[in-house]
Every structure is written in C-alpha cells, then in structure tokens.
Amino acid sequence: MDFFESLTLGFSVLLGWKPILIIIIGVIVGILAGAMPGLSPSTAVALLVPFSYTMSPTLALILLTSIYIASNYGGSITAVLINTPGTPSAAVTALDGYPLTKKGQAGKGLGTALVASTVGGAIGVAILILFAVPLAKVALKFSPADYFALALFGLATVASMGRGNTLKALAAILFGLMIKNIGIDPISGVSRFTFGSDQLYDGFTLIPALIGLFAVSVVFVKMESWTGAPRVMEKVDNKLPSLAEFMKIKMTILRSSVIGTVIGIFPGAGATIAAFISYDMAKKASKTPEEFGKGSLEGVAAAEGANSSSVGGALVPLLALGIPGSATDAVLLGAFMLHDLVPGPLLFQDNPDIVYGIFCSLILANIIMLLIGLYGNRFFIKVVSVPEAIMYPLILAIAVIGSFAVSGSLFDVAACIGFGVIGWIFKRYGFPVAPIVLGIVLGKMVEENFRRAVMMDGFTIFFTDKLAFIVLLISFLSFVWPLYKSWKHHKAKQG
C-alpha cells in the first residue's frame, strides 16, 4: 500500500461522529488529567484502559493516544498559573511560565505553551508517520555507552538552571542523584538505603516528590511570610502573545520540537529529559539568555515544544518494533494486548486501518487541542485571581490528593509533604529545585548505562566508542564553561 493510500485509509477510519467524539473526549480528559498534579500522562492513560476494553480496538487506541498527547500540554496550565507542574516535564515549563504569571502576563505564558505544544505535537506526529521504521532501527543501535553519554549531556544542562549560581544548582542536582539511589539496585537487584522498608523498595516515586518540591514548598514559603493582609490584586492579562512575539520564537519552537521527537524515540529517555535538554539548548541559542528564568517566552516554548513532540517520538519504537519507549508506551502496549493486538511491524501489515487510524487521529487531536486550549485559557486564567487564603490551602489539598492518586498509598502523601519541607529549605537558602528533578530523572539512566557499558566492554569503551566520546566531550565543555564564566564574573566583582 502506498503512503497516501494509507493516510486516506487512516482518515476514512475517523469518518463519523463516534471517532471524532472519542478524540474530543480524549483531549479534554488529557488536558484535565495533565493539569492535575499527580496524574501523569501514563497514569491518565492507565486509568482509562479499563473503560476502553469494551470499545473496538481502533476507537480504544484513538482514545488513549489522544489522552497521551493532550496530557503533555495540560501539565503546562498549572505549571504556568500556580507553579505546580501537572506532569513531570512541565517542571521545566514552570521555570519561565510562572514568572510570566507573576508579572501579570499569564495569558502570554498559556498562549505560548499552547501553540508550542500544538506545533510540537504536530511535528512529532509528522516524523512518526514519515520515518517511524528507519528511526526506530537507528535508535536501537545506540549502545549503553552512548546512552550514558547522552544522559550525562542531559545532566550538564544543570548549568543553565542556576540563575547565576551554578554551584547551588550543582548541589541541588547531587541531592537529586542521591535520592535516586534509594531503592533496589537496577543491576544487581540488591536493596539500597531502604532501611528494610518495602515502601522504599522502588525508591521515592517521582510525582509525589515533584509536587512536594514545586507546590507544597510554595505553601510553606507563604506560611512563613504570611501577614494576613489581603494580596493587592495585580491586573491579570489574558492577552495572548502577539504575532510578532510568535514570529520571534518560531525557531525555538521548531528546534525544540525536533529535539523532543528525537529524544522521545530513545527508549527510556522521555518527555522530561527532552524538556530539560531543549530548554538548555534554547538558552544557549538565545539572544537574550538573561531573560531565562524570569519569564522568557522562549523558555516556555522550548519546554512545551519538546515535551509534546516527544509523544510522537515515543510512539516510534512502540508502533515500529513493539518496544515500549516510555511509561505511557508500556500502558499502551497493554491496551493493544487487551484487544489481542501486538504492536510492531506486523501490525502495519495486518491492521493498517488501526495504525493509520491512530496516526490520523493524532493529527486531529492536535487541532482539537488547539481549539479547546484557546477557548479554555480564558477560564483557566481565573485561577490566578483566587485569593491567597483560598489558593494555598487548595494547592495543599490538591497536592495531597494528587500524590495519593499515584498508587493509592499514604506513604506517597507523606513523601510529598517531606519533599515540600525540603523544597522550602532549598528555596529559603536560594537553591533551585528544578535540578533535583533532573537528578532524579536522569540518575537512573546515567547509572544503569554506565554500569552496563563497563560490564560489557570495560572502561575503555568511553574512548573507543566515537559517538559516546564526542558527546561526553561536549557535555564536559557545556558543564565547565558556565562554571568558568561564573568564576570569572565573581573574580571581576571582587577585584
């Protein structure tokens, strides 16, 4: 079957009110779940798997993939408005999105996130449709040494998060790496730092930690400085960014979409790592890097373009090879199996209607997401006008519910509050919290692949594997350079 025939087949599957309705429902559920801290894309999709059981396989998968793509955008809404990332990858969006809200420009933050997500999502899906099979094969060729180098490159992006104090960012990332060491050793299977507790067997769950560090910590900061005086209401502007502003960030959106898709393809990398790396690249390429962290539209676009495009990327190994590349992919694999289907090359042959139906529904889901987002932003933005005396208790309540929702365990709630205290202490002494998340997310990838590489070929592999060597060199330079610059800056100030 030729390509255009396949696409026509795909769209023909979507004809009728039922598939369109399913996509709309999927997008709405996805946006809401994404915005809700605690419901990550994988949890949101997992929650709907049982409901999709009675649907036809095509409709079920259209529903689930629509949720997947929309939830990555939904996470940005709460990140921008109340500094509470709804999804792990939106932690990067909050870096610049929340400062925009504080400046009274929430509309710009939300608008940029929406457009970057839509464009990113579309580019990711386009790459998926056009090159799924060859790309998946290339990604498989990457050895553990290459993965280690890439993960280290991701860690090096910490240098762009210090807001002038790289050493404090470094301390925060080390803390994140230490947290990641808790739980079962991924290579030897021995328990580490679990103190005999089953709860710690899998380590701390990312989402409660994330909610604690970002949202609960803010509540504590407010409690400390509480005066009881009603906040002077700043004017909240729901104006979208102007066309000129979009034109200025179009390269950032395009770049971050390509980065997001490519990183999404690698099994085990995913949306959060994509957002961090893309943010770092955007800052380095920017004409106004000093704006980053203070409400840069480029920063928001870089994070959202990357995390939404990573969805298309992550579907590449799943659909082309039957290998789940992300946590959400693993859930989708299960959904396929529930319907007696196995994703992989044979699915293209045996059920092209399903494969191309999913492809086309993803294109449509992006468009619907844009429309719903444009309409919904007007309502979302009202959240900012909620009085503080109601807002902060509400954030705390959402944090508790959200961390409980992850796996229905009170331990996660306690962990969330604990991380809230840690986040509060970090903020009190001027340490950034985003690098902690980076450390938790990348720590596992760095450690596992380093040990695998050494077990397979010994330490020399990092010098003999060309790709790994080059990437390691780049990461070393991109890490050391800002350190050197800040040291020079410091010296100049003293002298």
Binding site: S42, T43, V45, A46, L47, V49, P50, Y53, L140, K141, F142, S143, P144, I184, D185, P186, I187, S188, G189, V190, S191, D198, Y201, D202, P267, G268, P317, L321, G322, I323, P324, A330, V331, L332, L333, G334, A335, M337, L338, D340, V342, P343, G344, P345, L346, L347, S407, G408, S409, K444, E448, R452, M455, M456
Partner: protein, 318 residues
C-alpha cells in the same frame, strides 16, 4: 397421613431453601481481583481477560484493582492484611515468589491460599534472527569462542529470567555474561539492536516481533502452531531443561469460607475448559492448566528453594 405429607413438604421446602441459600452464600458482593502491576502490564491483561471469560460462567462481579509496587509485595501484603472472607483475591506469577524470597522471609507463604495455577508458559532462549549467531548451536559455539564474554540481556539480576539463564549455561556447559536492563521490553530492544546475543523469555515475546526468534524451548515436547519448528533443549542434547516454566495463577488469604473455596474451584475449572480462554492462552505458546491448592503450594515450595539457592549464590541473600 395428611400431617405426614405436610411435614414432608415443609421439610422438603426447608431443605431446598437451605440448598439454595448455601449456593447463593458466595459471592454476595463484588470480588476484588488485585493485580500487582499498573493497568496495561502483562498480568493486568491476563486478569482482565479472566474476568471477561469468567462472566460467561458466573453472575459474580469481579473488579480489577491495581496495587503496584515492589514487584508484587505491596499487593500480596494487602491481601494478607485483609479479612479472609474470600472477597479479595490476587493474580500471581512465579516472579512474585522470587521477590518474596529476595526480601527475606517477611511474607509467610503458608498464610497464602494458593487457589489455582492456571497457566504454564515454557521458558525459552530468544535470539535475534538477523544476527550471525541465532541458532542454539551457533550460540554455543560463539559462547565457547568468546570464553565467558558472550552477552545475554534481560531484567534485573536475581530475577526469574536471570536464574533460568544461569541454569541454561550450566546445563549446556557454557559461560556468558548477564547484562540487566529495566524490564523485558528494553532487554528485547537491546537484543534487536545487536547489543546482546540472547534473551530469556517465553514464546509469546516473539509474537509480532519478526526480528526475534525462539532458539530453544524448555518444554518436554515441541509446541504447536507457529512454534512447531522450535527445537526443545532435549532435542539439542541439553539435559535437565525439559520442564522449566513461568506460571500464572490466583491466590487469596488462607482460611476463606468453605463455600468461597468451592465457588472458586468450580469457576477456575470452568474457565480452564472454556474454548475462548484456551485459545487466548495457547496463542502465546503457553498451556492452560488447573492445579488446585495442594499441587500449587508444592510448586511454590519448589520455586522458593530454587530462588533461595540462586539468590544466595549471587550474594543478594545472605
């Protein structure tokens, strides 16, 4: 005479009443079926398929509840902390036994009612069809040439698959290296990418993945269907690997009411004989079976011993 007939009728009515209440006594409310992975995991799919087939044979309602964490320990502990009323059961696999052993005696397997073992899945050595080394004989020759440096990929050390790999190496008289990946999916990706020579899994792993093939299977005789060409270890001259299995089944807490026990025994037998269930299980190269509590408990004991021995030799257990 009239009185007698009346008495007889009353007695008969009471008796049928008794019988019908005895039959209706279980279940009176929905049954929670606990799954130890998040929705979409292999065992979750298995549990949901079970409830769909069971619905044909009983009016009882099953609600699948996912309680993930610590490789099944969270789910099993949940069951053991509830009342033994028969309304909470869990789907279990052989890897749960490995986890129970590896956390060191904190769960007493004697407190568990091993209700029924329903699927046996033969263990298999899987290779990359496109690699130079892809048949069992090539694999053995390559391993001998590489002198212990041949790479096998799979989930974490000390798990089901790793232990099967070590057994295989011993039986075949070869040495190799185990490089762990985070789960079966990523291990198969590594095998497809040519980073390892072999993966230990089950025949169903190659379905839909034409790059992978089953090189040898640890069952007493060949499987049917698309696996008819796969040789058994016995045929390949490797002794002692003709009955290595991965099993799936159901458990509850010990001491559930007798009528609940009877209900489950009857239901599991009915599902086991259901053609839809049979087709679902056999499609993946596995076999539907029905082992009751005693037989199942014996399998668990045997597995516990094997895991204990293996984990001690690896240094995970002291």
């Amino acid at each position: 005479m009239k009185k007698n007939i009346l008495a007889l009728l009353v007695a008969a009515a009471m008796l049928t009443g008794l019988i019908s209440t005895a039959q209706a006594a279980f279940p009176e409310k929905p049954i929670k079926l606990i799954v130890y992975t998040k929705p979409g995991g292999a065992i979750d799919v298995f549990a949901r398929k079970f409830t769909a087939v069971a619905a044909k044979h009983t009016d009882a309602t099953f609600v699948v509840v996912n309680k993930s964490g610590a490789g099944g320990i969270v789910a099993i502990k949940y069951i053991l902390n509830q009342k033994a009323d028969g309304y909470k059961i869990a789907a279990v696999t052989r890897s749960n036994i490995g986890k129970i052993v590896s956390i060191g005696g904190k769960i007493d397997t004697n407190e568990i009612n091993w209700m029924g073992l329903m699927v046996v899945d033969p263990e298999a050595v899987i290779t990359n069809r496109k690699a130079k080394v892809n048949t069992w004989d090539q694999l053995v020759a390559d391993a001998k040439a590489k002198k212990g440096k041949q790479i096998w990929v799979g989930p974490a050390a000390g798990g089901n698959d790793h232990i099967m790999a070590m057994k295989t190496w011993k039986a075949a008289g070869i040495e190799a290296k185990w490089i762990p990946y985070a789960g079966g999916g990523k291990s198969m990706a590594a095998l497809m990418g040519g980073h390892g020579i072999a993966y230990v899994g089950n025949p169903q792993d190659v379905i839909g993945r034409p790059d992978l093939k089953v090189a040898a299977i640890a069952s007493p005789k060949r499987l049917g269907g698309e696996f008819a060409n796969v040789p058994t270890f016995e045929e390949l001259g490797v002794k002692g690997l003709n009955n290595e299995i991965m099993w799936r089944g159901f458990m509850s807490k010990k001491g559930i009411p007798a009528e609940a026990e009877a209900f489950y025994l009857d239901l599991l037998n009915k599902v086991n004989n259901d053609p839809e269930w049979k087709a679902y299980i056999e499609k993946g190269g596995a076999s539907p079976v029905m082992m009751g509590a005693e037989e199942f408990a014996a399998v668990v004991e045997k597995d516990k011993k094997e895991f204990t021995r293996a984990l001690k030799s690896l240094g995970v257990l002291k």
